[in-house]
């Protein structure tokens, strides 16, 4: 068989896969059972006649007939080539399990995504086989968590590490933001739970576009898929699978990040957690992970150390160290800054710690806010790390 023929066969397979993944009620697990080593073309033709593998049939349970009927009807009404043309026109690239360019890290995954869509030219990894670190955490983060995530993302990217995260708001966004900020850094990788043409959450649109431009966004969901309850936990397993190391920056006691931790442990990936104040609910999950044996991530060096143990050397970076303290602060502002820890407080607490009368306190806080050293959220004040765009 000539190379031209092989390429043509590959295109046919690819277009059928895209059509399969776009079927209604089709999720990653069902698709895996449906294919299970079969040729996508055969699976598609089987569906046309209402035939599905035994394993999938028992998995569908009572809804089997209803679902299969819907699939058969959709298959009958779909022109595979048209569907493929739509995806091809959107500029997304497609890869599938076992195909060239499919991420090697996912090949021995217990639940590998059957299909991966990616922004840009190819799903494949960059030229160099770079180490990858997943940075995840809560959406409801504090300024502390945000600044740590930005700092980790920046330092690791500068060290040539690909930062993997989920493009959610909060820690995820901060990690990507940091990675993008590194000069000549490794490109960030985002794994999202929606189709690549559905920007979710829409608040992250700018960031989404910048990650797509400088790095890659991956998804196992076909174009047009909106956010659903299950797609984010499913996405988390890919984040864990792609990365060599997982770092949790901030997590509540029952946070979604702990799903990613569980997935990483299933895949024997080392998990690091950033310690946080014991009073901060946003760090409760992290502190418990530390108690249960996760290694502490007190800076990029900790993460790089684990990578080198894994035989994935990255170029060392200078330690982040302390944020530079501005020299020319007013006396009151200096007192307030000293009294302000990294966990958010209300002005009452600052008044008690500094003894400043309210009017002087507000003036000092205004000065610090103006200098970008303090940020106010819903009446709570917290120090602000190096994270401004």
């Amino acid at each position: 068989m000539s190379g031209e023929h092989a390429a043509a066969a590959e295109d046919v397979q690819r277009s059928h896969l895209v059509a399969l993944v776009g079927l209604p009620d089709m999720g990653p697990a069902r698709l895996r059972l449906l294919l299970d080593g079969r040729d996508p073309v055969d699976a598609w033709e089987g569906l046309r006649r209402g035939r599905i593998p035994m394993a999938l049939s028992s998995r569908l349970g009572r809804r089997r007939e209803e679902v299969v009927a819907r699939w058969t009807a959709t298959v009958a009404g779909t022109v595979v080539a048209e569907r493929w043309a739509e995806v091809a026109a959107s500029g997304q690239s497609v890869s599938w399990y076992g195909a060239p360019g499919y991420p090697a890290a996912l090949l021995d995954d217990p639940e590998p995504p059957v299909v991966l869509f990616a922004t840009g030219g190819s799903v494949a990894e960059g030229a160099a086989d770079r180490p990858r670190v997943a940075i995840v955490g809560t959406r409801r983060c504090t300024a502390y968590g945000r600044s740590v995530a930005v700092e980790l993302g920046r330092s690791l990217a500068a060290a040539g590490v690909e930062v993997v995260s989920g493009l959610a708001i909060g820690i995820d966004a901060a990690a990507h933001l940091g990675a993008l900020r590194a000069t000549d850094g490794a490109p960030p990788i985002a794994v999202v739970g929606t189709g690549l043409d559905v920007v979710y959450p829409s608040a992250n649109r700018d960031l989404w576009e910048r990650v797509a431009e400088h790095g890659r966004i991956l998804s196992e969901m076909p174009p047009g898929s909106g956010p659903t309850r299950w797609c984010f936990p499913a996405r988390n397993r890919i984040v864990a699978g792609l990365a060599d190391v997982l770092v949790v920056v901030e997590s509540h006691a029952e946070g979604g990040s702990l799903h990613t931790v569980a997935a990483a442990l299933d895949r024997d990936r080392p998990v690091l957690a950033v310690p946080g104040p014991i009073r901060s609910p946003a760090s409760a999950g992290c502190n418990r992970l530390l108690a249960e044996g996760a290694a502490p991530a007190c800076g990029p060096d900790d993460v790089l150390g684990v990578l080198s143990l894994l035989g994935r050397p990255a170029s060392p970076v200078l330690s982040a160290g302390e944020a530079p303290e501005p020299a020319d602060l007013g006396t009151d502002a200096r007192r307030v800054l000293d009294a302000l820890g990294w966990d958010p407080v209300v002005p009452d607490a600052l008044a008690a710690r500094t003894g400043l009368p309210p009017v002087a306190l507000i003036a000092a806080v205004a000065e610090l806010t103006d200098r970008g050293l303090v940020v106010e959220t819903r009446g709570h004040l917290e120090r602000r790390g190096e994270e401004r765009s």
Binding site: C141, D348, A352, R353, A366, T377, R378, G379
Partner: protein
């Protein structure tokens, strides 16, 4: 065989004069009341008859007609019991017309002939245009507030008849037990720490700026709010009379001497209906909580739990200082100038408003926050976050100034507002404010930055300026408002519901 007695009926918080005409004629024995009496007013027939018989007075077995003029105005309540009984006694010759000449009567009768207090005596007495008034003994102090009136009190029908005939003494006004409303309320001196929140209370009191406290349970929101009335100055004489009228009309307890001098404190439960908040009711019109708090503090605890429809009805009274309630049958206007203080949790889980401090999904919190409309939130000039005090801060935090000390500063700040022609700076309109509070150049630049950033509306700008003026008054500063005062006003006006999304980029 005809007698006319002067009395009054209550309508909203004002009285309407009523002439009770009693006609006794031959015919089948009957007792009819005409002239739009409501149910309790019509039942007066049975009370009057029983009271007369219990008092050893004759009940004429004849045809009795009572007309309540003007006949077009609905009459409510039992306040006309006594006028009917006196009219009947005159009509059947037990009393001479001359003995009741120049007197008006108000009161409810018990079956034993006792004369019982009625709500709204102050506006009622005000409405009757005769030189002398007879009121129940328990209402004596209140009626005496209308000072150009000869007020007499009576405690039972028999004694009243004897006194009218000149055969007995008038009852002596009773000295009531001091009622709890006399107490000054808890003192600011009890508050430990929380200096910033105390300062917000001081500004609220000095400028009559509405205040919203946002914080988790246990942060001391109610405790702080409860201390606000103690910072306010005594009510001005006309305001005191208005507040007394409202309270009297609602049948609420009055202070010993009858006049409400201290700012009232009302804290309706969050189950309150729109009618309970602003007044109304289908039959008898009753003033709502916002009117009962007239001149004082209306405290809405758990603001997020109030029905949104109920909260929205408050917007107009907060703006105008009066409530006009219209029903199919009637309409009434109540005074409603209040200092609104509200407290709420930042979210349903009761966690902290601090970033990362709550475990509610963002959708749950968004739904909770939607209950407070933007226009309502805009009514709060002062919005601050409070939190459970840090145990360390709590122990080191010295107890602060007493209410009296803070109250003196508040009074002097209010004095400066009075010189501008208003009670407090919160009431200044934009034109007056521009004149009273010019801005320094730096302050203008600061406010422009806020406006450009979309954090401030035109209305918000006006409110920030008025708060800054109040702070200047409290500090005793003159001249144009400088940027530090604007910072204070902005620092006291947080957005309590800003989501984290905004902070990502």
């Amino acid at each position: 065989m005809l007698a006319t007695i002067h009395a009054a009926t209550l309508h909203g918080v004002s009285g309407h004069p009523v002439r009770v005409e009693v006609h006794v004629a031959d015919g089948l024995p009957a007792f009819t009341v005409v002239g739009l009496p409501d149910a309790s007013c019509r039942e007066a027939r049975d009370r009057v008859r029983a009271a007369l018989e219990s008092s050893g007075l004759p009940w004429p077995p004849r045809r009795i007609t009572v007309n309540l003029a003007p006949t077009g105005v609905p009459k409510a309540g039992s306040v006309l019991d006594l006028p009917m009984a006196v009219g009947l006694l005159v009509a059947c010759g037990e009393l001479e017309p001359g003995q009741v000449d120049g007197l008006g009567f108000l009161g409810e009768l018990g079956l034993d002939g006792s004369i019982r207090p009625v709500p709204g005596v102050l506006p009622l007495v005000d409405a009757v245009e005769v030189p002398g008034m007879v009121v129940p003994v328990a209402n004596g102090a209140e009626a005496a507030l209308i000072d150009d009136r000869r007020v007499r009190v009576a405690d039972d029908l028999r004694g009243l008849v004897l006194a009218l005939r000149g055969d007995g003494e008038w009852a002596t006004p009773e000295v009531a037990e001091p009622s709890p409303v006399d107490g000054g309320g808890p003192d600011m001196g009890d508050v430990r720490g929380q200096r910033f929140a105390r300062f917000a209370l001081e500004v609220a009191a000095a400028g009559a700026h509405h205040l919203l406290l946002v914080g988790p349970p246990g942060a001391g929101k109610s405790m702080l709010a409860r201390r606000l009335p103690g910072l306010l100055p005594d009510l001005a004489p006309d305001e005191a009379l208005q507040a007394t009228r409202v309270r009297s009309a609602a049948g609420e307890a009055l202070p010993v001497d009858g006049l409400v001098r201290r700012p009232p404190w009302r804290a309706p439960h969050h189950g309150a209906s729109p009618a309970a908040l602003v007044g109304g009711g289908s039959g008898t019109m009753r003033p709502g909580e916002v009117s009962l708090a007239h001149g004082g503090v209306l405290f809405l605890d758990e603001l997020g739990e109030f029905a949104p429809s109920a909260l929205e009805t408050l917007r107009q009274p907060l703006e105008d200082g009066t409530v006009r309630v219209s029903r199919a049958g009637a309409s009434a206007e109540y005074p409603a100038r209040v200092l609104l203080v509200a407290a709420m949790n930042p979210c349903p889980c009761g966690g902290s408003a601090a970033p990362g401090g709550c475990r509610c999904p963002s959708t749950v919190r968004a739904r909770y926050v939607r209950r407070i409309s933007g226009p309502l939130l805009d009514r709060f000039d002062l919005r601050i976050a409070v939190d459970r005090p840090d145990p360390v801060d709590l122990l080191s935090g010295a107890s602060g100034e007493s209410s009296a000390d803070v109250g003196r500063r508040v009074a002097s700040a209010r004095g400066r507002a009075v010189a501008r022609g208003v009670d407090a700076n919160g009431a200044l309109d934009p034109a007056a404010l521009r004149e009273a509070a010019p801005l320094s150049e730096a302050a203008v630049r600061r406010l422009e930055a806020e406006l450009h950033a979309g954090r401030l509306s035109a209305r918000g700008l006006h409110r920030v300026r008025s708060v800054a003026l109040t702070v200047a008054d409290l500090l005793g500063r003159d001249g144009p408002l400088d940027v530090d005062l604007v910072e204070v006003a902005l620092g006291l006006r947080i957005d309590p519901f800003r989501s984290e999304v905004a902070g990502v980029r």
